[in-house]
Symmetry: C2
């Protein structure tokens, strides 16, 4: 049975989901739902419809799962509860502090609709969260470390763009090698914010802007930059487009723990991602969980779930028998 997928929102993430669905032999893209005029939207897929979001409800019998590709700030807190009444849904809600409230809203809706809604899929939250959970369950006595990068932070890039005199900007979050090595050595270092990451900024100035003032405003910006060692490089718009057009990201999750009658043995678990495209990798995670969500709902499950609640085999198109024979 082919899983029929809907995509709501056609930005970087939505386009990534489209590619991932087209790559999956057990899935097909039924429709892309958009707030724009559907006639104005060109999508890659030839056989999928482009539909106004206002007509989504009429697709209840035509799609098995809706992948919600909006943003966490304003779209998903509204969309996920709304669509979980109508469809099995998957989202990538990534405002960590607001996950419990989002879970609770979505859970009520999904139960009303007898649907499964999986929230906060992606890599952090998502694969990094899974690795934190597994590693903590296995090594209950230990320390956790998460590092991000090297990668583009959209939030920090946007913050720089709001500075007066800045025309465009790209910000990279960079883990500090010596901190990674200290964690890998098992020495359980206590690391301050400044000791874990640096921030590297590429800034295009507006004509006549005061470079020194811009640099100072960036470096002293509270929350975003003041707690970090920040480097500001001024470049041309052409250079920004040519050298910094990608959206790479990644990071590291460690747990270091001890075992034994006298706690004499040390263990280090490390998980890392090096991603050329943050939205495309996130999209691939969403699509794997879309497969799981449809299966669970067919088994009669409903309500809000997270990656913690899904048995890994549900993510794979392969049977349990094949998985055991080839991957165990």
């Amino acid at each position: 049975m082919t899983t029929r997928v809907g995509i709501l929102g056609y930005g970087n993430l939505g386009r990534g989901v489209e590619c991932a669905v087209n790559d999956a032999e057990d899935m097909e893209l039924a429709a892309v739902f958009t707030r724009r005029d559907p006639a104005s939207l060109k999508i890659l897929s030839k056989n999928a419809a482009v539909v106004s979001v206002n007509d989504a409800a009429s697709y209840q019998d035509k799609i098995d799962v809706m992948i919600l590709c909006g943003g966490s700030a304003t779209d998903l807190p509204k969309q996920t509860p709304e669509y979980a009444k109508l469809f099995n849904v998957v989202d990538s809600f990534d405002t960590h502090a607001k996950i419990p409230a989002h879970f609770s809203n979505v859970d009520a809706s999904a139960k009303t609709g007898n649907k499964v809604a999986l929230i906060s899929a992606g890599w952090d939250p998502g694969m990094f969260s899974l690795n934190r959970l597994y590693a903590n369950a296995i090594l209950p006595q230990g320390n956790d470390y998460t590092f991000w990068g090297k990668g583009v932070s959209q939030g920090h890039s946007d913050a720089i763009r709001r500075v007066k005199g800045v025309k465009d900007a790209r910000q990279y979050t960079c883990p500090i090698d010596s901190a990674l090595e200290a964690v890998r050595s098992g020495s359980n270092p206590e690391l301050s914010t400044r000791q874990k990451h640096t921030r590297l900024c590429y800034v295009v100035l507006e004509e006549g802007a005061d470079a020194a003032a811009v640099e100072n405003e960036i470096k002293t910006m509270p929350n975003y930059f003041s707690d970090y060692d920040t480097t500001v490089n001024f470049i041309s718009q052409e250079e920004l487009i040519r050298d910094h057009g990608g959206i790479p990201h990644g990071g590291f999750v460690f747990r270091t723990g001890i075992t034994g009658a006298n706690k004499e043995n040390r263990h280090i678990i490390e998980y890392s991602l090096k991603l050329d495209s943050n939205p495309e990798f996130t999209a691939n995670v969403l699509v794997a969980y879309a497969r799981a969500v449809v299966r669970l709902n067919k088994e009669g499950v409903s309500g809000c779930k997270t990656v913690f609640d899904i048995a890994p085999a549900y993510l794979s198109p392969l049977s349990g028998e094949v998985l055991r024979a080839t991957m165990l």
Copy 2:
């Protein structure tokens, strides 16, 4: 509710399980079952019974899960089906090629007894398998690489000990750094057996043994050594005990994959373990899955399971609410 645990077999793995159970606040060790004379067995725990394996059946109401700590060659193929009729069980069966047959035998028994039996927990099979599955589900187009070590291989150490003139031996499997770096670079190298690992041997000779003949016999041994670059170092028994008494291990699981409309973006997922004690880490995995098995059985589940079938949240003593708030 405290989970009452039984341990069957009190070697390195059984002792590791004992430590892990004693560290878990939601578990208590009820009894260690042994084929030896129970009176002869000293265990670390003060409040646990030492019981003959012949009396195990009488403990059906006294323990919630039996962790089977025997070997994969002869113990577990017999023990796991036998005890899965009486108890929820967890084993570390690690003969990859025989997992499907073991699964089938254990599944029939566990269903007869209305118990849950989780087989092949540990790190490979186990955590490495999970990482292969997750990474393949997320990046369906890509390549897998698994490296082991640096660590002690008991099988290879035993093979050396069987060579005439060898008194004692310890063999380390070592991943080759340049191969790891080639994989990390995303170049998708094709790697032969010899290009992935080397074998490092520390050998104690019997008095009067012919060192050159022993070295030659080791290096040319089919299956074990002939396909590898092998180094043989002769040392004294004292040096072996002093410098090579531990049982460290570990390794690396990679998946490199591509995404995008033109497959233009590359992603690298890496999971690695660096373990001071192979049996103690394995024991900690078994204990986390023992928690899961008891919970599943209370929900009415029965039959044979693997790590692929268990939702991660079942491994943790924390509630879903706490997990979402702290680890997602």
